[in-house]
Amino acid sequence: MRDIRLLGHAFNPGMLIEPFVQSNPGLGGVCTFVGEVRSDPGVEALELTHYEPLTLPGMHELADRAFGRFDLLGLLMVHRIGQLHPGEPIVCVSAAAKHRRDAIDAVDFCMDHLKSAAWFWKREKHPDGWHWIEPRTEDHADLARWNN
């Protein structure tokens, strides 16, 4: 079961994960990662822009690669766009598999790729205005782990 979505409004991960788990009978384990907007001092809001003709097809391609690389029963990948506030979920990836290693590794793989290779741009609202966020060096190092 594959469920890939871009959402323009706030969401509750539990409301997505519970039906996802139900829709994958026979699973042995489910791994889920939820990323939230951190409450960093001075950050009032976060805005995620994307390029629509690339974003959703890119997430589907990433899902194809995850299904090709890991033994999965199901994959849920949900990403927010638009303006978010501290504490709101930005991203939720959940993988259902027979064995835990496939579930955990698939989530790790998808998150690393969503962080560095998906068509999203982030900017933060500080008291003095909006600031674009540059990609972090760690994110590129994380991505390089999968190149073998």
């Binding site: 990403h79 560095s116 290779a117």
Partner: protein, 80 residues
């Protein structure tokens, strides 16, 4: 009909606008000439990509946009 150029992420602030329409056809040199000096400088960096008709170009200098096409200028992403 024209070629639409979209400025994504921080390139939007640099360009001072989200999109611009220019007459087609438009090739790489034409693109560099119409986007302003600062954006043109960014485009020449390897980490900035160009998409045309919804596909990222493997070689952006081979750009060949016709009237009606949409070009997207894609700076490094910071998603997740």
């Amino acid at each position: 009909m024209a070629v639409t150029i979209l400025f994504l992420g921080p390139l939007r602030d640099m360009a001072g606008e989200a999109a611009r329409e220019v007459p087609g056809p438009l090739d790489w040199d034409g693109l560099l000439a119409v986007v302003g000096e600062e954006v043109a400088g960014q485009l020449q960096e390897a980490r900035v990509n160009v998409a045309c008709r919804g596909k990222v170009l493997a070689d952006k200098t081979a750009l060949d946009a016709q009237d009606g096409d949409e070009i997207a200028l894609l700076p490094p992403v910071s998603g997740g």
